[in-house]
Symmetry: C2
Subunit: 409 residues, 2 copies
């Protein structure tokens, strides 16, 4: 008998009819001989309804009270799903985050899980019950209600799976798995049956927003088998797991892209120690996250410094950068917010130096100019002009033969 944790998001439980459909899926899993724990989000629209009530009172709600308010959303769903299960003849019991001691720190609105007590859940499972748990919420050590921030239900599910030593944590979403590229861009993109945590982290951080990054990190840390599946269609989805000794490591798993970035360059900077922090310090102070950073050594003890930020932060960053340029005596500042980052991801490239070369050549053959390059152990990213998005992704998808699935060594 396996222990399966399932997580359903707001759209999957958005109406009473959908909650009943979720109950059917849970029952099916139970009938296959499994113990089932279900983690649910608030019904879609509910969180916004509650936020709008708060907004009518104040534009700056107390973080603690906002958590008390928002946590009612999932509490409503757990009650309704448990009722639906009972109505269909399957004993169920619901728990809020506090009731199963999902202990978090006290950072209201964006708390992190510290500990989960699994004993109560195991006891109910042993009695044959389905256990339904409110996602997204917990309590701090003083018993105050906390929330993990939007999308935090994925993290609840993974943390619960880790605490219970579940066999698998299944995240039901509106897509049926992780693909070799965005199917809206590459029509013959293939669903990956399996992918490593590290690859998934790179894919997620590069714009394939199937799962919350935090939940994948959590899964990797506690070695939880994570599966992404569709709420609406049957299918095996994609299993996200550890790199297996016996598993033939994929050279390339997929092509990710991200068009939410903008790049900024400061030209003719005096090349001396500490200059990078003089440039990036004021940007970090403004709470702007920097993604790629490239520095070229130039002539005359001068250097050029280029980096990318979220496109929404472009204007703000540009203003800060101009001030910095004046202060440090840089020659000029330029920027471009019509760029796209395209990345080739695969754990197999660790031991294969030729990947970058294949990538650059394929892009060159199509006349696509590379503006920036950045590499990590398991990915190579390039920045190109935004209008090359589709062509670039399709070219690389074909260059690595991904229309037949992940490329093996």
């Amino acid at each position: 008998m396996a222990l399966i944790v399932q997580k359903y998001g707001g759209t999957s439980v958005g109406t009473v009819e959908r909650i009943e459909a979720v109950a059917d899926k849970v029952i099916e899993t139970k009938k296959q001989g499994n113990q089932v724990v279900v983690v649910v989000s608030a019904m879609s629209g509910e969180t916004d309804r509650l936020l709008s009530l708060a907004k009518d009172i104040t534009s700056t709600p107390t973080p603690r009270e906002l958590d008390v308010l928002l946590s009612t959303g999932e509490q409503t769903t757990i009650a309704l799903l448990s009722m639906a299960l009972e109505e269909k003849g399957h004993p169920a019991v619901s728990y809020t985050g506090g009731q199963v001691h999902i202990r978090t720190d006290n950072e209201h609105n964006k708390a992190r899980i510290v500990d989960i007590e699994g004993a109560k859940v195991h006891k109910q499972l042993a009695e044959g019950k389905v256990v339904v748990i409110a996602g997204f919420q917990g309590i701090d050590e003083d018993g105050n209600i906390t929330t993990l921030g939007r999308g935090g239900s994925d993290t609840t599910a993974v943390a619960m799976a880790a605490a219970l030593k579940a066999d698998e944590c299944r995240i039901y979403t509106d897509v049926d798995g992780v693909y070799t590229a965005d199917p809206r861009v590459v029509s013959d993109a293939q669903r990956l049956p399996r992918i490593t945590y590290e690859e998934m982290l790179e894919m997620a951080s590069l714009g394939s927003k199937v799962l919350q990054i935090r939940s994948v990190e959590f899964a990797r840390k506690y070695n939880v088998n994570l599966r992404v599946l569709s709420s609406f269609e049957d299918g095996p989805g994609t299993l996200i797991t550890d790199e297996d000794e016996n598993m033939e490591a994929a050279l390339i798993s997929g092509i990710a892209h991200n068009k939410d970035e903008a790049k900024l360059t400061i030209v003719g900077v005096p090349d001396m120690p500490g200059i990078a922090s003089q440039i990036l310090g004021p940007i970090a102070d403004a709470n702007i996250e920097v993604d790629m950073i490239v520095q070229n050594v130039g002539l005359d003890n001068k250097t050029d410094f280029t980096f990318t930020v979220n496109r929404n932060d472009y204007e703000k960053t540009m203003a800060i950068l101009k001030k910095t340029a004046d202060a440090i005596g840089a020659k000029e500042v330029s920027g471009d917010n019509r760029i796209v980052k395209i990345s080739v991801v695969g754990v197999g490239m660790r031991s294969h130096a030729g990947i970058a070369n294949i990538m650059f050549k394929a892009l060159a053959d199509e006349g696509i100019n590379i503006q920036m390059i950045s590499t990590s152990e398991i990915k190579v990213s390039v920045v190109v002009a935004e209008n090359y998005l589709e062509l670039g992704v399709r070219t690389l998808h074909a260059a690595f033969g991904l229309e037949n699935g992940a490329m093996s060594k």
Copy 2:
């Protein structure tokens, strides 16, 4: 510095604007130098909205899960009221029933409070905060969420006042106090500045639905000073308290009436031991509550037996009674659901035998026929035909001189 518990019902917190008005009332009380604990209900309409979600899933929701669902209603209100207080510059902290350990038995949907831990609330009050508590809910000893049943927020407020040894528990309602009679029936009915617990219990059980009976019982048991006031107008309301040695005991406090009853009579019953339980047993088994019971000794070892039930239970009771009549060989069964019960209430009548006589004479002078009589230590009730409701109440109000307030000895 006094400690005041205030309770606001669903209508008083029915919109964001009303919640803000409640915040103003709370702040005013605090500015007068008091510590304030506020108990609130769900926003009006919210409980029905949640019930309708449950009803879409099942006609028989699991009682435990229904409590998980309904308890979100008050949780929403406590968060919003606390935000409103903070927005107006007054530190506040909200607690669910579970968070302040309102321990109940495990009778879901109609739980009874067993214990309340006041330490956490006292600590927050000492730090200058307003404490906002969800009414109507608690937890059982296993940490399951329970509810006290509809209207239970009054009980939460009184129990909280008892646990905290508060100076006064103020229940804000849509009326500005307890009156000598229903002002819709008697235009010169007077607000009573003060009334005893016992009188209030009789008034409440007789149809003056200002307060939940259970909350008054609780207040009497723990000697909590209870005050009924208007949410919408300023005023001292009515203080419900213990009979005071120094307080001039009112002979008659008011005239209550109840038109929700129906009477049934079984005629020609063999007068023998156990006959009352043979008649009432099957009715109790059907969960029908019996109010007044009158038995007349008749001729030939036969007796007539009359009792009243809630008007909604009339048909059902009649069917049961007919079966019983056949079984015990009674002569016939009759009934009337167009009756009204009118009662004269006052602790002072304990030591004054003439009250009943004044009452019967006043009614007789108006040609009102009395169908049943029942008395307790502090009330005399009569059943008359429904069309005499207004005339009967007005006649008695005048007969006891209540247009000048409670009648003294």
